[in-house]
Amino acid sequence: MAVVKMTVNGKPVSLETEDRTLLVYFLREQLRLTGTHIGCDTSQCGACVVHVNGKAVKSCTMFAVQAEGANVTTIEGLAKDGKLHPVQEAFRDNHGLQCGFCTPGMIMTAVDMIRRKPKLDRDTIRHELEGNICRCTGYHNIVSAIEDASKRMAGGAA
């Protein structure tokens, strides 16, 4: 057991946790940030994607202690002052979800992808989504949502 300190969604956090606690459990069970989902728990489905120091990672395949001192952003940290992030808006407008289980991971992956590649075509988006699985198979509208978000953000909406 050790006290782990990090910043989560802009707020400093300091909590005692076991060394073996995975980041996803730390977020969900200790911080009660249940927007980050556990899907496959084997690093394949991407429902648990969060940002650590600005980069998308699978929080089921990282220990909380590894994030000591890091800046962590979860789906709960995207909206600012009650206003949805442009990627969240685009998912809503394009019906980029069906059951919604994969959506937090999809959105966190999308935000990261747009940061790295400001110009995205549909083919690139599909490749970039290789680590995120939607079991409703609703990929078509997810791709449309990301394409739309990327255009909106290039236009200075964010």
Binding site: D19, L22, S43, Q44, T61, E68
Partner: protein, 267 residues
């Protein structure tokens, strides 16, 4: 899934990591953790202590010289994939890194971690063996031909830490991978390189450990063209066979991927 309990320590330097490993014989290095943590969650690995070297600045660098590109062991896959130096000197290596796992995995996984783990279907071993790279550790330098010794096993000794890999710049090289559509691991991946000292062909994913194809190398040395390897039938004995593909299928894929890699390299 929750792994067995262990103690975590963040190393301050390679020397510090060395000292921490010496203290407990059941300790393991944590580099990117993208395989190790999954294995620990399945409770197939049970280290008593994890020594985290992922953040060590001294292990994270890309230095491109005229004849070789040296990459620090803790350099992440996305850094190699995006490096202008690697893209210029050995585009096949940057391309290979870009095909590992998915973006989130590439943000965490490291070159040294991949090599030390030596997964039968990992991508980097193909580049290391295909280019004839040398693996530097805190103790010595190991030639790629001597490094990979079997499934999940390497020439690394207890307490030995990979610090850097030096990749000779080839005249031409290419990597072609047939990925498992779910995991993105290589069903078969073939790295082909034409270097000053000859042609090298390395195959990953097909067998328990990455291996070279001397028959293809000899044929390509005579003529570096896809048709040189097209007729070479690969022996299926010793190939992996699982729900994703039979040994016969994998043996066939080796020739197909080799052909594609040569065509790509010859461009």
């Amino acid at each position: 899934m929750i792994p067995y309990a262990f103690q975590y320590a963040r190393a301050k330097s390679v020397a510090d990591a060395e000292a921490l490993l010496k203290k407990s014989p059941e300790a393991k290095l944590l580099a990117g953790g993208q395989t190790l943590i999954a294995t620990m969650k399945m409770r197939l690995a049970n280290p008593t202590e994890l020594v985290d070297i992922a953040g060590l600045k001294e292990l994270s660098f890309i230095r491109a010289g005229g004849d070789a590109v040296a990459i620090g062991a803790a350099t992440k896959h996305h850094e190699v994939a995006d490096s202008a130096d690697v893209k210029r000197a050995i585009p096949a290596l940057a391309g290979l890194a870009q095909k590992i796992g998915d973006p989130a995995v590439r943000h965490m996984g490291t070159l040294g971690g991949s090599l030390a783990n030596n997964d039968p279907a990992a991508d980097y071993p193909a580049a290391v063996l295909g280019l004839g790279a040398s693996i530097k550790t805190n103790k010595r330098s190991i030639a790629a031909d001597d490094f990979f010794t079997g499934m999940f096993s390497t020439a690394l000794q207890d307490g030995e830490i990979i610090t850097e890999v030096s990749f000779p710049v080839p005249e031409r090289a290419a990597y072609q991978k047939f990925p498992n559509p779910a995991s993105r691991y290589a069903m078969v991946g073939v790295f082909v390189a034409k270097t000053k000292s000859g042609v090298r062909v390395a195959v990953t994913g097909a067998a328990p450990c990455v291996f070279r194809m001397p028959e293809m190398e000899a044929a390509l040395a005579r003529k570096f063209a896809p048709e040189s390897v097209a007729g070479i039938k690969v022996d299926e004995s010793g190939m992996n066979s699982d729900i994703h593909g039979s040994a016969e299928y994998r043996a066939h894929l080796v020739t197909v991927m080799a052909k594609r890699a040569v065509a790509d390299a010859a461009k």
